[in-house]
Amino acid sequence: MSQPFRTEKGGRIDRGQQLSFTFDGEQMQGHKGDTLASALLANGVHLVGRSFKYHRPRGIVTAGSEEPNALVGIYRNGDQTPNLRATQVELYQGLQSISQNRFPSLGFDVGAVNDWLSPFFPAGFYYKTFMWPKSFWDKVYEPVIRAAAGLGKPPKNPDHDHYGNIYALCDVLVAGSGPSGLAPALAAAETGAKVILCDEQAEFGGSLLNETSASIDGKDPADWVAETIAKLRAMDNVTLLNRTTAFGYFAHNFIALAERVTEHVSNPDPNLPRERLWQVRAKEVVIATGAIERPMVFPENDRPGIMLAEAGRTYLNRFGVKVGHKVLVATACDTAWQAAFDLADHGVEVVAIADMRENPPESLISIAKARGIRVENGCVVTGTLGRKRVKAALLGRLMTSGQVASAGQVECDALLMSGGWTPTVSLYSQSRGKVVWDAEKGAYVPGKSVQNERSVGAAKGLYGLQASLENGYAAGEEAAKAASGKSAKITYAQATGGEAGNGGTLGAIPHDRNASKVRAWVDYQNDVTAKDVKLAVREGMQSIEHIKRYTTTGMATDQGRLSNMNALQIASGALERPMVDVGLTTFRLPYTPTTFGLFAGISRGDFFDPVRKTPSHDWVVEQGGVFEDVGQWKRTWYFPKKGEDMHAAVARECKVVRESVGLFDASTLGKIEVVGPDAAEFLERMYTNPWKKLAPGRCRYGLLLNDAGFITDDGVIGRLADDRFHVTTTTGGAPSVFSTMEDYLQTEWPDLDVWITSTTEQYAVAAVQGPKAREVIAPFIEGIDLSADAFPHMSVKEGTFCGVPCRLFRISFTGELGFEINVPRRHGKMMWETLAKEIEKHNGTTYGTESMHVLRAEKGYIIVGQDTDGTVTPQDAGMTWAIGKKKFDFVGKRGLERSDLTADNRPQFVGLLTKDPKVKLEEGAQITTAQNPATGTPAEGHVTSSYYSPALDRNIALAMVKNGHALEGKTLYVPMPDGSIPVEVTGTVFYDKEGARINV
């Protein structure tokens, strides 16, 4: 099949390998080595998309990652990836691509009506228009804007690709593999330093791949690239990463690279990831990201067929593609002339070179004349014709008066433009460096280094092949020396040709057209024109950051690399302030769009967050138990029997525990072993309670405060020996309690001889609670006398459970006779299954966290974090009994004496009973004194816990209420949308107030 714009020979494509692909369903041919963009151009396709706002037909503008227009969707494995830049998509057999932001088709797009209505869509249009009426906000405006927003369509299915992640260390990381990247990579590598060289393109070499008019060491530049890469590849200390974008520069020389591993092949190895995230810690970084060409901002500069001059040259020399048959070159600098010469040498008719400078170099003019190319000095493009492809350009002569006089019209099917070069300072800027204005170069260039990096070559505004090589070698040597102290004798390669060019322009190009009628684009992707930038200034935007956001200029996927400088100059003119004073917007990461998949890596599905399971987990799954997530833990919520809902299951579980026995998995509770001669002293200082007099074999409830005086955690602490304590914490508080203990121990009391260890994972814990608890565990416990006299409530002892060593606690969080058995984690399953079988003999039940909550609420036991919120003191919670008043100090003691904490009117922990026992309060509901308080009345408190109590056959609640302890017996109200609920304030213990059941 014919590729009418393919050259006869030349280029780096493999002409022997023909590949078929489709674009919007149309079958076309290209070659291996093509990008989708070059293959489309070879087929004469310039129109590839519609613009964002006005739906103008748009063509390929660049040959790189900064491409603003050629954003396409690629189908693969039945799904579509949107917004890929056709200039970066490598062609493979069977590639299917679609254009975006058009309906019903690219050629006929109804959205293009916006272009005719464009006078109504100026900058800030959205802010001004969708204000009123308010009723239209969510019903009309939002759906319409949502439908119109965005370019590509997001994929509908979960991402079926997988992504890899690699951490790497190196001495020198080089970003970019043009002349100024290859030279430092080679120089550093020869010293033996560990080098990583990455380049976002498929092939290493950068601009050298389309350089045909120069030579290095007498060789064709592309051959020199191949030799250099072969040399580097043979070195063990070098990692070469092509298709790899350095997209983020973080603190301490931490660089993120995105490597595209399989996207470019038609049948990828399923074992390979689609992309790989490289997290590189480099001792030194060499930024060799080059420079990109600037578009010229002349009227109608956005028609398909208009592209950057060097892009045209790249398509010709690297991909063997002619961008047109009749090409006009419009420029303000020298480099674009070479594009014209190369095209002419391939038989393309160059209709003219229009250089806006009065006196372009004579040397260039004579070369052009020798090729018979018409040269127009002091000449600009003032407009273009053609809808889906440029047909002709209007020329204008720049007069000394500053006016422009019409200079006729030329026919062309492609227009190459060059407004000069902009160094790519994105990575430098991300490294927190501040760019500085270089008036001579007309560019912002890197200033002082903040991190260990150096920009080289075009990335710092240093142009010319020989200069780039020299600068690169020197930078590589310096970087290697700084990173590893090594050096080597390096022979610098010598270049001929590829000299630096002069010239360049910024901002809008003068023209003789009606300024109110014509539009010149600054930011193609976001459809921002020169007029929009001026309008933003007229409407009061002073800061470049405001102008950027008001107009959206520079907010395209290239982060404004293409548009920023032109926009800045236009803004500077409108503001009548010099460019340096207007300032540049910040370049943020990522350098190019980066997939979510890359960031997520393997952290998806089961790997998103670790799941912690208790020893009873598998048994519970078999029994049909229902789990709830508590932090990372899966805890059993309740155990429904056939036909039971949650309410019924919980009611049954609670009833059985009170009447017979229940089994509960308490393995998630935090456990800390506190050991050493000063262990008791340490706990004395950490917890509010006294510990020194606690006898070995006894337990005590411990309350932990912070130094402000507020409750942060609680738990039972058992003394196993004079110098050994078994501390338990809440499930959620375990890590922070441990960390707090370490903090005080290491930094406040380093004199204490104490060792603390987290043992949460070491023990499986089964709680057996209920009147039959002793009978249930007795057959399995050896070495401990379980009688009430020998082992009373709040005892701890070591023995065995089924022959396995255990720590047995007699404690209760239900108000019933209760035991908690700790065995080594690996025996947890055995313990659980043994006890689960045993309780059946006593008509017992397993119970979950919901019943645990109900049973403790019936007894008024607090749950830290539910009934407390970080502002509750022991006095507020009614727990002054837990405070060792004679102690010299403990964490929080001084805090408790602060005037605010001892003041009247503090919220206090109380019970609430609804007047109607069937009414259940909502947790979090506000409490007031008035039945129907006026709007704005402050609440007296709020409900912290609320349950149906099976033991009382009524609803109960716990609450924090201002001065609550004094309000016992009083009636308060809980106002709800469907009426105010009267409640009586009570004590916090609803069941077995004298606590007889616990001491049997």
Binding site: F250, A251, H252, N253, F254, Q279, R281, R432, V450, D707, A708, S739, E742, D743, Q746, T747, E748, P750, F888, D889, K893, R894, G895, R898, S899
Partner: protein, 101 residues
């Protein structure tokens, strides 16, 4: 991601192994009962938030577990000194001067 040197392990490790513990050298009064309300509030809540050098506590919590101190430039994120807990606060001005030369 910051690169942090643990003076106990004597190795540089990535920030993910560490946890920042806020401003360093805030001593808990030896006899809190003698501290005035103002002193106690100062100890509990008042912290500097300097633009420039700051002495901070760090804990190597996914490593040796030890607390240590570090001087960090809050503008550049550069660390200028790592030292063990209990060692005196270094002269920040001298460090700044040395770094600035």
């Amino acid at each position: 991601m910051l690169l942090i040197y643990c003076p106990y392990c004597q190795v540089e490790r990535a920030e993910t192994e560490f946890h920042c513990g806020g401003e360093a050298h805030i001593a808990r009064p030896a006899d809190p009962s003698k501290a005035s309300d103002e002193d106690w509030v100062e100890f509990l809540y008042m912290r500097n938030n300097p633009k420039g050098l700051a002495a901070e506590r760090w804990r190597h919590n996914n490593g040796c577990g030890r607390f240590f101190n570090a001087v960090r430039d809050t503008v550049s994120d550069k660390f200028l000194k790592f030292y063990k807990a209990g060692e005196p606060m270094p002269d920040l001005e001298a460090i700044a001067k040395e770094a600035g030369k």
